[in-house]
Symmetry: none
Subunit: 245 residues, 2 copies
């Protein structure tokens, strides 16, 4: 299953949202991360122009958002419901960081089952009745002194973690330009050493690990073929200066 | 060092931001994640009521935001500048996912050096001149079909990853040798450019992106203080050769 199918099994449920702008911004956040299914439970003002303008063109998600009268309706068919909470709860469920929750959500989705991420109101979060519908609670680790995350910002962080979990291990980027071969790099070091001797910077009798130092610097950069050409072109011009009568 | 001190060494730099509301929302995102230093380079409209209302009480960050006329001023004292970009660039720097970039930023901060995360405009991102100031580019892995992340949402994801890296149980190792500061690296580039002109390798009238190319090479290596001294020592000797009668 590719990441798009996996993320297609995860829905975002916003319950009793006060501000329609937050619904639009949440839709935008979802669409950037490849999530498509937005469920709105008793939104206070919706549809609304603020939702459309904050969605900034993320119309795929907003146009297909479903509206529900009750939470159980929005959660129908799910195998796992994860509630987002800003604070520890008294009658506590398991409370995990969002990174852990995202991994569990993706695991369930990979097994072809449906998952819901549930967000409560902007002011009060999840009610006790909503908490009872969750199997797991997740929190975004915020600063103790100021934990007031905007609803759409919380959706952004969570959907980002879902996408990171779904696309799996971070693949290093393939090098954009061909790297220089070992022989080419050694040719450059020889040319560089010769130049440093001729400009009187390197005394062959007292080399003081200078070349090792420069090798360490350039090897961190992993020189490309074209860069070797540039560097040797520079050395050639330096030597021309040194050798002029 | 605790995570608060580590994050205190990382500044967020917003360049030429169009909408003051985004500045406020970015301040709020930062404050939830325990980042405190916001630098604004030539904001188009600031101060502004929209910034205050979108900050939603995150006044610690907003009240202490600094305003700068030029990017180098905002980057003064940094050892690592990471640019956020939405797309691959032609003459590309190393481009890594934000999770990897956050780990590197925290590694440098743990070594008690300063880091900047640089965000360009809402419409166009970073300019080429801004890219030239970065040692590393980072991208948030978005859906191919819709990658339009709001500026404050991008700041939220990035600061979340910085916080996760800073509080993480796996602490990155501190760098072994002190990195050169932004000013020191810029001083080296200036010296290098001058030298290339004097040896007739670089024609100021037809620069052909040579300096960008060399910046890209050296920024991959992340120059150390001591290496800057060696490289500038070499340039000094070259110039002595060029200038001899």
């Amino acid at each position: 299953m590719n990441s798009s199918e996996t993320l297609g099994r995860i829905r975002i449920v916003l319950s009793r949202t006060s501000h329609p702008g937050n619904i639009g911004a949440a839709a935008r956040a979802m669409q950037t991360m490849g999530l498509r299914r937005l469920c709105l439970v008793s939104p206070q003002r919706y549809p609304h122009q603020d939702a459309i303008s904050m969605a900034a063109g993320a119309t795929d998600v907003l146009d297909h958002a479903t509206i529900h009268d009750s939470l159980p309706q929005a959660l129908a068919g799910t195998a796992l419901v994860i509630g987002l909470t800003a604070r520890p709860r008294q009658l506590s469920h398991a409370l995990v960081p969002v990174r852990v929750a995202a991994a569990q959500a993706v695991e369930v989705a990979l097994a072809q089952q449906e998952v819901a991420l549930l967000f409560g109101t902007e002011m009060c979060g999840l009610s006790n009745e909503e908490l009872d519908q969750c199997q797991l609670l997740a929190a975004i680790p915020t600063d103790e002194a100021y934990s007031s995350l905007n609803l759409a910002a919380a959706v952004q962080v969570l959907t980002y973690e879902l996408r990171m979990a779904a696309i799996g291990d971070i693949k290093p980027e393939a090098a954009a330009f061909p790297l220089a071969s070992h022989d080419e790099v050694e040719g450059f070091y020889g040319h560089l050493e010769q130049t440093l001797v001729e400009i009187d910077y390197l005394d062959p009798a007292v080399p003081r690990r200078l070349m090792q130092r420069l090798r360490r610097l350039f090897s961190r950069a992993r020189l490309e073929k074209e860069e070797i050409n540039v560097l040797r072109g520079i050395l050639k011009m330096v030597l021309r200066q040194v050798r002029r009568p």
